[in-house]
């Protein structure tokens, strides 16, 4: 079970934030084009940084707590990290936007009535 730890941490991040899309009204997963246009440059910058740092031995990943699948020297979990964490931030940002819109429209209705 130990080798699943990193993947389970990422899974928990997805599970905790998923309701923001389907209950909170954030539209992130449902805008795949915008999401891709955001994630590709983010991935290029930050996975690039990660690859260089790992190459220089600034940090490294436990063999015990990762599945052992690697892509260009990074565990597969680390690649997923660059999808999961930005999506969590976007869902938070979008849900806050929804909240502010509904507050505004409620305030608008009140001022009109």
């Amino acid at each position: 079970m130990d080798s699943w730890q990193y993947l389970l941490v990422l899974g928990a991040c997805v599970a905790v934030t998923l309701p923001l899309e389907f209950v909170g009204g954030a539209r992130v997963y449902r805008r795949p084009k915008a999401l891709l246009a955001t994630l590709v440059p983010v991935l290029a910058c930050f996975a690039g940084w990660d690859l260089i740092a790992v190459h220089h031995g600034e940090w490294w990943f436990s063999a015990r707590y990762t599945l052992g699948l690697r892509l260009a020297g990074l565990p597969i979990e680390e690649w997923l990290f660059f999808g999961v964490v930005p999506v969590c931030a976007l869902l938070t940002y979008e849900v806050l936007g929804r909240g502010m819109d509904s507050l505004k429209s409620r305030a608008g209705k009140r001022s009109r009535s």
Partner: protein, 107 residues
């Protein structure tokens, strides 16, 4: 000697802010919603990153000479917060940029 990760964790947020202020110019930094999302995401970073970096069973380990050695809260290297700030800022700026470009396209 300042560690390589310490230097990059300071430079990366500055670089992302510079890109927003000079190139992308979405204006997102003036919005409370951006800072609120940042505060919430960084707060959630603590349990997640805390689990990844805990010294008793670390998933990620750092070369001592690459970091400052300041680990707080729990065992999180403070540099991780610079990394996260840059990552989240770039994400939200690009998302906002994409939205603005789409809106402009409809006009």
């Amino acid at each position: 000697m300042i560690g390589a990760y310490t230097i990059s964790a300071i430079c990366a947020p500055a670089a992302v802010l510079a890109v927003e202020l000079t190139v992308l110019r979405t204006g997102i930094l003036r919005r409370g919603r951006f800072w609120a999302a940042m505060a919430i995401t960084l707060a959630f970073q603590i349990p997640v990153d805390g689990w990844l970096t805990k010294l008793s069973a670390p998933i990620v380990r750092y070369r001592p000479s690459a970091v400052s050695g300041v680990r707080w809260p729990w065992d999180i290297p403070v540099e991780d917060f610079g990394f996260a700030f840059a990552l989240i800022t770039l994400t939200l700026v690009l998302w906002e940029r994409t939205r603005l470009a789409a809106t402009a396209g409809y006009e």
